[in-house]
């Protein structure tokens, strides 16, 4: 009987010891305001086109003047995919940095001026930098005029907020050269 009682005590102690850990913990709070980046929301108006495989927010250093400007070298940031059928999508470039997640762990947007911020869609499930794969459906602009891109100004250690883009499927923006 003593052996039995000892066994029970040993088991209870074992269980108690290994169960002291609480398991999953909440992630530490991210202080976005002190980070270099930008945030905002995308609003969608109208019906989504069929066959869309990818929708992303792209930030380019320079405007797209030729098809070759739509390249990785000109790229400042890509936000994680926007789910199909969304009517509104809130984002920030710190937590939803697609390039950092997918390709380059150290890829971060840098401070300075970034000329062209767009929402683009592709029917190709793979991410590509072939300009012809993408349709620009929304532009961060001046006074609601989609033909006038508004530069994005990023300051070191600051979060630029209010980078809002409206995608109006009934009134698409002008397309840059292929």
């Amino acid at each position: 009987m003593k052996k039995v009682i000892s066994s029970i005590i040993a088991i209870v102690l074992f269980v108690f010891l290994i169960s002291c850990d609480k398991g999953i913990e909440p992630a530490p709070e991210t202080n976005l305001s002190s980070q270099t980046g930008f945030s905002g929301k995308v609003t969608f108006i109208g019906n989504w086109p069929t066959g869309v495989a990818r929708t992303h927010i792209f930030v380019f250093k320079s405007a797209i003047r030729t098809g070759s400007d739509f390249s990785f070298l000109n790229l400042s940031a890509v936000i994680d995919p926007i789910p199909n059928g969304s009517t509104e999508f809130k984002y920030n470039s710190v937590e939803q940095n697609y390039i950092e997640h997918e390709f380059l762990p150290d890829f971060k947007i840098t401070h300075g001026e970034h000329a062209y911020v767009i929402v683009a869609q592709s029917k190709n499930p793979e991410i590509s930098f072939v300009r012809a794969d993408w349709v620009i459906v929304g532009v961060y602009n001046v006074d609601g005029d989609q033909s006038k891109p508004k530069p994005l100004l990023i300051e070191e250690g600051k979060m630029t907020t209010g980078v809002d883009i409206t995608v109006n499927y009934n009134n698409p923006p002008p397309q840059p050269p292929m």
């Binding site: 066994s7 169960s19 999953i24 909440p26 992630a27 495989a53 059928g85």
Partner: protein, 720 residues
């Protein structure tokens, strides 16, 4: 004077006669069923009796005094009862509890007829009904979580790694009630809430592929629920429970200041009227849930009728109806809001109605030949409310005719044919489709060689899913059981399995929330498997046993849900996958009938051979341990389980769709239970206190879903 002398001589006799009494009473089970033919001996004397058909007994001419009664019956735990015999002795009620002697356990699931567990070529496990009610498992899946080799990812059950997680679309473990499969016609999933827990006699688990006798869904194993046999006397069973969830581990997770409770009440009545026996049961369950929009309201109605035409022929009919209204918690908002769903999923609700009926006609032609006809109908309807309205209505009909023949002392043949067809009508889900399937199987058990039992079986299936090409499958199996003695048994089995894709896996086109949609895949092929297991059972004594198993399953065209791009999930075929493992089970009863230890360990190496990575949602190591201590009238139990941190999950999905979705840890869960049996108005009653997840350990079985936090419940059972 002569008369006086005689009186004087007889005085001692007269006095002793006057000091004799009577021990009388009744022996019942802990479910208030009368027990006949129970042996009752008065310890230290030659006195004794057997109980009559109504469970009563009488032992006459027992001298006044205190006695110890030894009460015994095969299949029940032996019991010692103290009693006193005097001039005013009252009848006593003795309650016996069932006890299964390992090795003599009979199961019917392995070959569709009664076999001893120790004669089987495959691994099995049995859960007794007391283990479910005593631990207040509200649904059967919670009891299965403690079975070695069985894993649950949310509601999806997996035996030895057969499934990862696919949100209920398609199962690789066949759930059956009295041998009748209980999978829905659309998703092919298992609805645990539908199972009539109150009528469970035992749950038999076959670990490993059983397609050669059960067909498609049994590629990973079988869980067969055996319902209780009919009662000859009226028994009413009342059960109620009330519980509450504790506070979350972190203040930041608190989303509600109220007490989150769950309660249930169920009433069951069974009786017999000549050749007809019946059971009617109704149940209500209400759970506020520990998570926002994690509520659940259920109503369950269950009936079973059994009619004995003759001692050889009987008909059983059962019907099970579930109405459920529950919140549809998909994923947490993030790990800082772990008990709160995403903003746009707070109002997701699912309402469903399900009706499952079964008809079994058993015809014993002679002692060596019986046939069984099993028919079932399963109706499901559910409506999903959220950003998108979804609806699915499915009707599944199934018929099986089976024959079992004892051809000689050494040869048993079991054969059967099975036909099933289903139709689905859905909105924003699976479209409308039809399924038709035919199967035929045959199995022989041969005992002609000393100490060796050989089982050989094969099954053929034909399937046609709507407009897709039809498919055929042949699944043979061979098994051996060799006894080196009573204490050491070797078993081995080699077999194949297959699984047809469910309509949900092929045709599902729906949004599942968080901007993720499921896309149909009409090119999805049936998966197949080849598996073997070698097991050794060693009984060191009647109370100590060890069971060691090595197993391997090789899958081809394994069907698995995959995120094919940022927002689209599709069921695809993995070219090759392999699962290998070792399972060890140990059972030790140092005080038989009172104290028992059970330990199980499973090592499982599951690989996607094409990508050379671990298969998703499968832990490498898992352990379960149980201690039960039952000094009458008390019951105490500790249940512990551990599962290693799963190596692979849907990585892209976790990053793109579920914030902090990659947060996962090993699983450590400890449950405590304490019970007390007593008589309430002369009827058996039980009261149980349960504490689940006592260390409030936070873990996920699937990303973004914190498993049940610490909770307490009090349950009461009355049999009258």
């Amino acid at each position: 004077m002569k008369k006086l002398t005689i009186l004087f001589l007889l005085l001692p006799e007269i006095c002793s006669f006057a000091q004799n009494g009577l021990i009388r009473g009744k022996v019942i089970t802990d479910k208030n069923e009368s027990l006949a033919n129970v042996n009752i001996l008065v310890a230290g004397t030659q006195l004794g009796a057997s109980t009559l058909r109504d469970g009563t007994f009488e032992i006459k001419t027992v001298p006044f005094g205190k006695y110890n009664l030894e009460v015994s019956m095969i299949g029940y735990a032996k019991k010692n009862v103290s009693t006193a015999v005097g001039s005013d002795s009252k009848p006593i009620i003795i309650i016996l509890t069932e006890e299964t002697i390992q090795g003599k356990q009979i199961i019917v699931s392995a070959s569709k007829y009664e076999q001893k567990v120790h004669d089987l070529p495959v691994s099995t496990m049995v859960i007794e009904s007391d283990n479910i009610s005593g631990k207040n498992y509200l649904t059967l899946d919670n009891a299965l979580r403690f079975v070695p080799g069985v894993q649950l990812n949310l509601e999806q059950v997996s035996i030895r790694g057969s499934s990862g997680y696919s949100k209920g679309a398609g199962a690789r473990v066949l759930l059956a009630v009295n041998g009748i499969p209980m999978y829905s016609g659309d998703t092919g999933d298992i609805v645990w809430e539908l199972i009539p827990i109150t009528d469970i006699e035992r749950v038999e688990i076959i670990k490993g592929p059983a397609s050669s006798i059960y067909g498609s869904t049994a590629i990973g194993g079988v869980i067969n629920i055996i319902t209780k046999s009919s009662t000859k006397n009226p028994v009413t069973h009342f059960r109620s429970y009330l519980g509450g969830y504790d506070k979350p581990s972190y203040d930041i997770w608190k989303w509600n200041n109220g007490i989150r409770t769950f309660y249930g009440v169920e009433l069951t009545h069974s009786n017999s009227l000549e050749n007809l026996s019946y059971t009617f049961s109704t149940k209500k369950f209400d759970d506020l849930g520990y998570r926002q929009n994690g509520f659940s309201k259920r109503y369950l109605g269950y009936m079973k009728l059994n009619y004995d035409f003759t001692p050889q022929n009987n008909l059983t009919f059962f019907a099970d109806f579930l109405n459920m209204n529950r919140g549809n918690f998909l994923y947490w908002k993030n790990s800082r809001n772990a008990l709160v769903p995403k903003d746009d999923e707070r109002d997701n609700i699912i309402k469903s109605n399900r009706l499952f009926t079964g008809l079994i006609y058993h015809h014993q032609i002679n002692n060596a030949f019986f046939t069984e006809l099993k028919s079932s109908y399963y109706y499901t309807k559910f409506d999903g409310y959220g950003k998108e309205l979804t609806e699915s209505i499915a009707n599944l009909f199934r018929n099986e005719l089976m024959a079992n023949m004892i051809l000689s002392d050494a040869l048993v043949l079991t054969s059967g044919v099975e036909v099933s067809n289903s139709s689905i009508s859905s909105i924003n889900l699976f479209g409308s489709s039809k399924f038709f399937g035919v199967g035929a199987y045959s199995q022989i058990e041969y005992k002609g060689i000393s100490k060796l039992i050989t089982t050989l079986g094969v099954r053929w299936d034909y399937m046609k899913l709507d407009s897709l090409n039809s498919a055929n499958a042949v699944t043979p199996k061979i098994g051996f059981n060799y006894k080196f003695g009573n204490d050491f048994i070797l078993r081995a089995s080699l077999g194949t399995g297959f699984r047809a894709p469910t309509p949900a896996e092929v045709f599902a086109t729906t949004s599942i929330g968080s901007g993720v949609s499921v896309k149909s895949n009409p090119n999805l092929k049936a998966e197949s498997s080849a598996s073997f297991e070698i097991g050794a059972l060693y009984n060191y004594s009647q109370n100590l046993s060890f069971d060691l198993v090595l197993y391997q399953t090789e899958y081809k065209d394994f069907i698995e849900a995959n995120l094919v791009d940022g927002t689209t999930i599709q069921f695809i075929n993995l070219p090759k996958a392999r699962i290998q493992g070792i399972e060890l089970n140990n059972s030790w009863s140092p005080i038989p009938g009172e104290l028992k230890f059970v330990l199980g360990y499973n090592y499982m190496w599951a690989r996607d051979l094409d990508k050379n990575i671990a298969m998703k949602y499968r832990p490498l190591n898992s352990v379960s341990a149980q201690v039960s201590f039952s000094p009458y009238p008390f019951d105490f139990g500790i249940d512990f389980r551990y599962a290693g941190r799963v190596e692979e999950i849907d990585d892209l999905f976790s990053r793109l769709v579920v914030a902090d979705g990659d947060k996962r840890v090993p699983i450590y869960v400890t449950d405590l239970s304490a019970g007390y049996k007593f008589l309430f108005g002369g009827s058996p009653a039980k009261i149980y206190l349960n504490a689940k997840n006592i260390f409030n350990y936070n873990y996920v079985e699937f990303m973004g879903n914190i498993a049940t936090i610490r909770n307490y419940s009090l349950s009461l059972e009355l049999f009258f």
